[in-house]
Symmetry: C2
């Protein structure tokens, strides 16, 4: 109970979460905790882990998670036809995306206990009169204070009129499932408050709104998001996941320790004390912890080894690169990777060299290359080649 | 054809009316002329006559008038519940109001040729997805430029969100009936342009928008309207109608001559030339013309006679008021009308004086008084009393 009140960026109204939890404990009636899901964006990343961990805490206390699948608007797409990133999805696509999404949730919460509710159940029955009725319950001026609407109006960027209905639809979902709590990012704060308003206007107790803190992405400054490409996916392979965590800037370590690891409090305190003196070791501990949460301890161990071999040992080996003057090889200008490796005596035959490349054993300038016929660019000044565990070349062009 | 292009305040786009009329003449295909009717306001007044006369001209050229009965939103009323002047109407009320409305139209246009179309025919079939689709076709920023929305937003007056959908619904009506022309007051300019936009967005030729000039009401300054009480109803009795026209300020005469009489051009010119020198005679001609249009020539004649007797003869007689010093009558301070008349020898008996009052034959300060026991206010300086056709007194108090 103490734990569940912690780590939340915004609780609105402030005391209502505590009150509802106590009330539920007294009456034995579980709270309905709403989580909205947009089926056009099924991929979850580490930023979502913060919310999922909080949901797990609710679940562990016996409360009910209701996952609202926003299939109604997803099927419509963008009625103005201007937003190409919102094509209409058909039922099969929505089903597949929901499945993907729930599978990801399953990495943290018990999805068998989650109630999954498509909002088309009520929205497909709504007619024009119902829609006007719903809209009549909300003040336009208030809706226009939502940051993105206000900014776009101010800068004369177009807003198609249907867009301002969507917050009402999201709020209507809360009304339909009689949500006690809605959880989301701070970017959802406005919409979740619309839910509160509609519930109150219809004689329901308004939901408590919980905003979880946002996690910064790999670039170290911007909020982690798929569209910015600075994300670590919840379903990333262990090696990728480990490597990506290792790539975050050091000053993000406290944020990651606090928000996405599941270390005990004392462990966290100890790590926070050592981030500046031992950033690399701390980062490895974070990476291993995250991979353990989302895969397994064994996966975490293997990923750490892989990282050690692929990246960290490479740094050690970089001192042993052998310089080779490209012109001295007498290969002309049109050279492909497999031929270069044979000339360099990495393997004796072309087929053996091809096999090495295709099995992922060759890196060019630190990037794995699996295409044996990749053309060698002779226009640059030099190129680093690592083939297998032992062969390191610095090819120098004129 | 020349005539129909005249007397229109705004034609939008300017040349399109002429083009459409010529096109229709060439192809023999009549134009669809849309007139919207709000069933919550079935009473027409002289200001509407301007539009009706224009519609009559279209009808006389063989074009089709489509009357859109806005029954859909009338049945909803005000979803926000805040506007008490828009209670939801039931089907019977709407039917009755439409009947009343059409009866009034019949005073000017041939209602047998009018196509009456309830817009619930399409709106009751629209669902939430259709509504979002419709809203997606219009830009919010543009909608917010409509005067009343802009002003209310600026002054922080509440606007319920459904309100901004109504212009789209009105525009959608134009789309459904494929209107070539929509006619309305200048206060409808914005909404009629929304119709143009929606028609174009759906591959139709945009309707031509015609705004008819507004007529000022009895007060001489404000637009004639039922809610301001400064109106002459199209179904007012001949005597009332005549009298109300006679009561307009003289400087409105040119406006009334031009907008609501049906004199020939030469007659109008002659009248316009004499408004300053002969305002009373001109006003009578206008009043008679209007009563003739909306009732009959005979009604107009009778109404003029009635006016003459009731009001104008009074003015002539005003020179013959007999001065009476109230104190000299020796009646004290608590006097009622019937006693005063007996003392003044208007009638010999109290019952005869009472009968005269109750039959409407007595005016006090120009106002008919039918209450025999009306107290005489002795606090003012003087009081004019007219009793029957012959007795005129100026009672002078101390």
């Amino acid at each position: 109970m103490e734990e569940i009140l912690k780590g939340i960026e915004i609780i609105l109204p402030e005391d209502s979460l505590k009150e509802k939890l106590e009330e539920s404990q007294k009456t034995g009636k579980p709270l309905v905790v709403k989580l909205g899901f947009d089926p056009t964006a099924p991929d979850l990343h580490l930023g979502h882990l913060i919310t999922l961990k909080k949901l797990r805490e609710f679940q562990d206390l016996g409360h009910e998670i209701v996952l609202i699948v926003g299939d109604f608007t997803a099927q419509i797409g963008d009625p103005s036809g201007k937003n190409k990133t919102r094509p209409p999805l058909n039922k099969q696509e929505i089903k597949a995306n929901a499945k993907t999404y729930i599978k990801q949730l399953g990495k943290v919460i018990d999805v068998r206990k989650v109630r999954v509710q498509k909002n088309s159940a009520w929205f497909k029955k709504m007619d024009l009169a119902d829609t006007l009725q719903l809209m009549g319950q909300y003040n336009l001026g208030r809706m226009l204070t939502r940051d993105d609407f206000a900014n776009r109006l101010k800068s004369d960027s177009p807003i198609a009129m249907h867009e301002i209905v969507y917050p009402l639809l999201q709020g209507h979902d809360s009304l339909k499932i009689e949500a006690d709590i809605e959880i989301g990012g701070t970017d959802q704060l406005f919409n979740m408050q619309v839910g509160r308003h509609l519930q109150e206007a219809n004689g329901q107790k308004a939901q408590t709104v919980l905003c979880m803190p946002l996690l910064r992405g790999l670039d170290g400054t911007k909020k982690m998001s798929k569209s910015l490409g600075n994300y670590i996916g919840l379903t990333d392979e262990p090696n990728d996941m480990f490597g990506k965590v290792m790539s975050i800037p050091d000053d993000l370590l406290p944020e990651y320790i606090n928000l996405v690891t599941n270390f005990k409090k004392e462990e966290k305190d100890q790590m926070l004390a050592q981030v500046t003196s031992q950033p690399l070791e701390t980062k490895k501990m974070i990476a291993a912890n995250i991979v353990t949460q989302l895969h397994s301890e064994e996966d975490a161990k293997k990923a750490e080894e892989y990282f050690q071999n692929q990246f960290q040992n490479k740094d050690d080996a970089s001192k042993e690169y052998k310089d080779v003057n490209f012109a001295s090889l007498g290969l002309g200008d049109e050279v492909i990777l497999v031929d270069l490796l044979v000339v360099l005596n990495v393997r004796e035959s072309k087929s053996a060299a091809r096999q090495l490349i295709e099995s992922g054993g060759v890196q060019v300038d630190g990037e794995k290359v699996t295409d044996p016929v990749m053309k060698i660019e002779t226009g640059k000044s030099e190129m680093l080649i690592r083939a297998g565990k032992l062969n390191f070349f610095r090819i120098i062009f004129d």
